[in-house]
Amino acid sequence: MSTQVAETPHGALGLSTDDLLAMYRLLLTTRLLDEAALRQNRMGRAPFVVPAAGHEGCQIGTAWAMRRGSDIWLPYYRDLGVVLTAGMTPYEVFLGVFAKADDPSSGGRQMPAHWGSRRLGIISGSSPIATQVPHAAGIAYAVRYRGEDAVVGCWFGDGATSEGDWHEGLNFSGIHRLPVIFVCENNQYAISVPQSKQMAVEDVAMRAEGYGFPGVVVDGNDVLACYGAMKTAHERALAGEGPTLIECKTYRFLPHTSDDDDKSYRSREEVEEAKGKDPLARFGAYLRQHDVLDEAAEEELRGSAKKEIDEAIQAAWDAADPDPDSALRHVFQEDES
């Protein structure tokens, strides 16, 4: 008979050590894949990539509380960690990076990181900001109308919270108490515009009050805190108690995209200071502290993730390009025949 002396933070959240290792592997894969994609860009093999580094904690922390197969995901373009958690593979991600015919998001039609997959329940996204927010509300409405056991997750950055669609989507969701969770990955910049020039409030989360549901602030670099907030929101949604807005305070380590130069708007000191709060390093330290991970296991995880990514890059690079004639397809539904 074992004696539980003191409950661990992850134990209190119902997370097993297997869960923790799987989450850590997702954080690590997101980071390594992100770096690899940017290298492919710098090598001239990918015209455009969208970095995620710095956001892994809030992406995987929140996404881990979602259920694959029943819940519905509306990520935004920086959400590599969210879509990997939803079940997209590194190979599929690189099919998108290289704009190949079998890219599950768009068959190479959209820029990379414009995620979508009917199979995985990831709703196709676009580049205009916050347009997915009213979609999330409509999907949540349909979920309840059809009596389904599903929760809708909708992710966006701080910049999105200035758009009319964001407010309209949250307002509709609040009125109808819909089973939807809004996750703001607040990295404090809308490309170059700092939060102080985006809003006159300290926290995005407080805007939820205007729509009649809870808004919570969490440390976006703390995977377990993000998971805990999302878990509570998920339970609320399933219980018919309505939406939640979760604001994860985080930081983007790299430029907005491969075409951006963040030196024009952020000091290197600021970026270095933020890197000191790296969610990946922090989660690794937590796992070592709780004897979930040791150096050997870490090396093994890193090695296997790197191998998977290297193989994914090679296989995706070798995959077929879209047929030029296919550019005319799928404007409208095509005949079955």
Binding site: I72, D103, P104, S105, S106, G107, R109, Q110, H114, G116, S117, R118, I123, S124, S126, P128, T131, V133, P134, H135, A136, A137, G138, I139, A140, Y141, A142, V143, Y145, R146, G164, D165, E168, G169, N171, F172, I175, R329, H330, V331, F332, Q333, E334
Partner: protein
Amino acid sequence: MTEKNVVTAIRDALHDEMANDERIVLLGEDVGARGGVFRISDGWLDEFGEERVIDTPLAESGIVGVAIGMALHGLLPVAEIQFADFIHPAFDQIISEAARLRYRSNGDFGVPMVIRTPCGGGIHGALYHSQSIETFYAHVPGLKVVMPSTPADAAGLLRSALRDPDPVLFLEHKKTYRAIKGEVPDDASLVPIGVADVKREGGDLTCVSYGYSLHGCLDAAERLADDEGISVEIVDVRTLAPLDTATILSSVRKTSKAIVVYEDNRTYGAGAEIASTIAEEALFDLDAPIVRVGGPDIPAMPFAAPLEHYFMEPEPDHLYARMRALAHA
């Protein structure tokens, strides 16, 4: 067959479809307790319940965006934009999202939904209750844009729109709502989207039009027949996108003369597309230059009666005169 006006034909068809298909939900401003400002959904809140007849906040982009979400998850939303003049905040949702979702997902997602909106002038609606918006939307592949001119077409096209796997912008000219009456089939007859209709047969010239303008053309054609025995064929395009060029070209090849009539501002209007199609495909069948009759190029329709009348009809009998001149050319 039952004689109805356009608004009754739309109401009856939509009611019928809602009663038969639980996926259909109606959302928009004042569609519930008020039954819509044109009373399309009068009494439906009680009949179908507030889950299916949804009074929304006053936010057009949100209305369309929410409807897209519903369509992505198994419902068949009918979003009502109270006046077409107020649809512009939803432009991004309609063209960036609804029209492009199927294409951008390589066919993985589709958005079966209908956006209904009353448009057009001649009803003392001034700048912001009179606009023609069809061209903005007909320009974007991925969206179907229909504009019926008769009660039977309105009913049949609406039923087709609800069966279409892709988004349909359903434009209802307000002036036709109560002014235009006609026989409507009592069954669920469909009018196919993308097929024009010859509303009047003739041999001397082809007049291509749609919406309320079509009725001015029919009237002028009747009088030209009576006065001078000029026989005008009138093609109602019914669907702006995709445009049925075959029916238009076949008529023009028969008559060798073409006039295109539309209420929207003349420049870059639907008539430009129709006229250029005729010029490209049937120039050597023509006996005279194509004539284009559109609204004046002013920002919108003014309110004062003489000003509004000028927009709709810049000079007395202008359609009659333009058709007559073309017939004699």
